[in-house]
Symmetry: none
Subunit: 152 residues, 2 copies
Amino acid sequence: MARLSDIIEDFIKDMIDETDGQVEIQRNELAGYFNCVPSQINYVIATRFNSERGYFVESKRGGGGHITISRMSTDKPYDYIMHIILSIGDEISKHSADINIDNVADLELISEEEKNLLKAAINDNSLKSVPVFLRDKVRADILKNMLMKTII
Amino acid sequence: MARLSDIIEDFIKDMIDETDGQVEIQRNELAGYFNCVPSQINYVIATRFNSERGYFVESKRGGGGHITISRMSTDKPYDYIMHIILSIGDEISKHSADINIDNVADLELISEEEKNLLKAAINDNSLKSVPVFLRDKVRADILKNMLMKTII
DNA sequence: ATAATAAAGTCAGAGAAAGTCAAAGGTGAT
DNA sequence: ATCACCTTTGACTTTCTCTGACTTTATTAT
């Protein structure tokens, strides 16, 4: 069941696709279009267009204010995946791992099949025998190791 | 005498049949339909739609939340993968896992990329934080879970 | 300069949905 | 009649979304 936030997310993503990786929106105008409070736009941006998901957001208040959302460049897939690997750290939650995997899949750096395998490898079903206090650590190791394999 | 859980199980299976292997349900709605507490739906899913039985379950909480149940593909070529999954048992060595992976790759049931990812996921580098006595068990869980995903 | 106006930002609370877990209740085999 | 196992229930928890009042910042008009 697609929630309003999902619809707004798709709308913004379509705009970004049409404008080559960057878009400038007016928060109030967008909120008016979708008949919601302006702060919902902030919510969508905070949860869907954050840096973990590969976006960069700038804004300006006051008259002529606006929000600019940029998709990170993927000119060099190797560098981008390496950057993600380096950013992962010693531990990662399933939720956060999923976001990273979706991210590289959205950028078409890996295929749908590879995405599915990555997600299957790090979900709690795969790790059910690992003591809970160790899971996020093992998850990080697996994810980094697998991502590394995609650029070798 | 069919218990309520059996009835719910059949109901969900019928939905899956009608929708080509995958269905999205609302836990509360379904519980309302069957006049039971919502957690009974969790019970049915945990006992009838687990991975041993060939299902994959994902879910999302909060507004717009839902539960998605996917059944493995019934295409003939994949019987072999199911066979391997069932033959793996509770534990598997890295060597033995590699042999199985090469096997399905040789039969072209998975691509080269998928083969590489499977191997990366279960090697000792991925599992370096897992106590040695648990490694072969975790390896088996990951391998089975990933192979299952290839036939969903 | 100052005031008015026009944006965007923050944050906490309400609401919506699913997850967990342990206790209670049935059922079937011995 | 008992024991082991399966099912049902419900109180409590966690996660995700939506809303609105209040704050901050930038521009424009006086």
